[in-house]
């Protein structure tokens, strides 16, 4: 008897191109590949097979024997988020975000420029390039190799025209020179349509003779990004149409097999790229103002998708349902007399929508930007965390929330 290893586990994530009830396959053989591998710190996928027990009275105190009722799968996942390590290349876990947003990750075409100088521009920094850069306001631009190191990171730019653009850095220092600006990145923009992008989540464990699993048609019901800890954290959970297992394959129904004629063996060459990045090497901006005393930011997406338990003639689900797509955030900062904190409190009182921009990392292949528009803050709550006084805001996004994630 060989015990299942906690470390000898591998996860493969792919988008089910044929919908929620069909695994990707060719002539019944799964096309799961080594390139779909992604590192994780925790993953479970289990079937939920409820027992329906009649409430009818039997004349004694024991219930009647129950019957099986509608069933489906559930899954949860968490990981220290790893950037790809290579410019313009999506992280291994990007498909999870694609599924959450319902939109494809697009590689922004190369758009590079040589930076000639930087200079203070009234609370912002103006960047000048050697020739017309072709960027637009709101583009995410990575600056590298500039003499002022604070500028070397991913920015959401403004006032873009000709060979200049601005970044939201209240630097006020000496002018800088040199380096590059690059718009190339992997970009996911949530256009808030009703697209449902189901995943297949393959979980292989050692030994290979133990039960192997795939969550068929996995859809996230909650995805959370946590900034501010040692590592940038990603967690997600949701439902699936079913969890197909190697041990249960022979007895599985046609729908449970989801198009396969055999449970596949694990790909021989899982490929992992990149490394976990610090969760605190970044900046947080509210309406373009640097929240310099930020301690943590948590962003939670609730796409509102599930498998309703209302189908007839089948215990398994027959459709995916899309309800309200909610975005909420929580921001904790050390309380200071910075103007941005007063501005956030004023916005919370008036319910004026604000924009959140978080930029993490400081090099190509290791940078991420997250932008969320139209967040309505609740007034910040003070906490006496001796010797600090912290303040925590929560907020909910309203339409159009326009969420965008860029990996540069």
């Amino acid at each position: 008897m060989a015990q299942v290893s906690t470390q000898g586990q591998r996860l493969y994530v792919d988008i089910q191109s044929g919908g929620a009830f069909a695994l990707n396959e060719t002539a019944g053989a799964s096309d799961i590949a080594g390139g779909d591998a992604a590192k994780f710190s925790g993953f479970v996928a289990n079937n939920v097979v409820p027992l329906a027990t009649s409430a009818n009275k039997t004349g004694n105190r024991e219930p009647s024997l129950g019957v099986t009722t509608r069933r489906k799968g559930g899954w949860s996942f968490d990981a220290d988020f790893e950037m790809s390590g290579a410019a313009g290349t999506a992280p291994d876990l990007v498909k999870l975000l694609q599924s959450q947003f319902g939109d494809a990750a697009l590689v922004v075409p190369t758009g590079t420029a040589t930076v000639t100088s930087s200079g203070d521009s009234g609370g912002k920094v103006e960047i000048t390039t050697s020739s017309a850069h072709g960027y637009s306001d709101g583009d995410f631009v990575l600056i590298a190799g500039h003499s002022v190191t604070e500028i070397n990171r991913l920015w959401k730019i403004s006032a873009a025209t000709g060979s200049v653009f601005e970044i939201d850095l209240d630097y006020g220092g000496t002018a800088g020179s040199g380096g590059t600006a690059n718009i190339t990145g992997v970009n996911i923009v949530d256009d808030q349509d009703d697209s449902i992008v189901p995943l297949e989540l393959w979980h292989f464990v050692d030994p290979a003779t133990a039960e192997q699993k795939v969550a068929v048609g996995a859809i996230p019901s909650e995805v959370q990004l946590s900034f501010g800890e040692d590592f940038l954290r990603l967690s997600a959970s949701g439902e699936s149409a079913w969890v197909l297992t190697s041990d249960g394959f022979a007895a599985a129904s046609t729908q449970e097999r989801a198009g396969l004629t055999a449970f596949p063996t694990e790909p021989a060459t899982p490929t992992y790229n990149g490394q976990a990045v610090q969760g605190f090497n970044g900046k947080c901006f509210i309406d373009g103002a640097d929240l310099g005393s930020v301690k943590s930011v948590e962003v939670t997406f609730n796409p509102g998708r599930d498998y309703p338990e209302d189908g007839w003639n089948n215990n398994l689900p027959n459709r995916v349902r899309a309800d309200r797509d909610l975005t909420s955030i929580s921001i904790r900062a050390s309380k200071t007399d910075d103007a941005v904190i007063a501005a956030m409190q004023a916005a919370a009182k008036a319910k004026t929508p604000v924009t959140l921009f978080v930029t993490m990392g400081d090099a190509a292949g290791l940078s991420m930007g997250l932008s969320i528009l139209n967040l309505q803050l609740e007034p910040g709550n003070d906490e006496d965390n001796d010797p600090d006084v912290d303040i925590t805001w929560t907020a909910q996004g309203g339409y159009p929330t326009t969420r965008q994630v860029v990996f540069a």
Binding site: T149, G178, G179, T269, P270, Y272, D362, A363, A364, L366
Partner: protein
């Protein structure tokens, strides 16, 4: 065929067959078709000849092995060095993005003539007869 690793950290395979890449510029030998498959899986490698076009110096490669961020920190003794290196990295990244696009599965026909990354589209594709690098 010789390829160069241009990422920060990657692993391929499992168990005793696992290979880890940790050093920027590390040389690795792959069959071209295998390399193409791995690039599709996200492995950041480019052909050695392409890598050489960028012209990294030994000192720059040594610095890059500490990570891009550290390598690009301004050197007070030679302030233009970080800008020069950033330009080289930008050129390298453009090459890699190009190679990634070339290796995109939906652009390559099963009968494509694969020699390294110089792929000529064949068959019924509207791209037939064109070199991938020209598209």
């Amino acid at each position: 065929m010789t390829f160069r690793f241009i990422g920060t950290f990657s692993e391929v395979g499992r168990g005793a067959e696992r290979v880890a890449f940790r050093r920027f510029g590390e040389e690795v030998e792959f069959d071209p078709a295998k390399a193409l498959e791995l690039v599709r899986g996200g492995l950041p490698i480019i052909p050695g000849e392409t890598f050489d076009l960028v012209g990294f110096t030994e000192d720059e490669l040594k610095r890059l092995r500490r990570g891009r961020s550290a390598a690009l920190m301004p050197d007070p003794a030679r302030p233009e060095a970080s800008s020069e290196l950033a330009l080289k990295l930008q050129e390298l990244d453009e090459f890699f993005v190009q190679h990634r696009q070339i290796s995109a599965a939906d652009k390559i026909l099963p009968s494509a003539d694969i020699t390294g990354f110089e792929i000529t589209y064949v068959g019924e594709s509207e791209l037939a007869g064109q070199r991938a690098e020209d598209i």
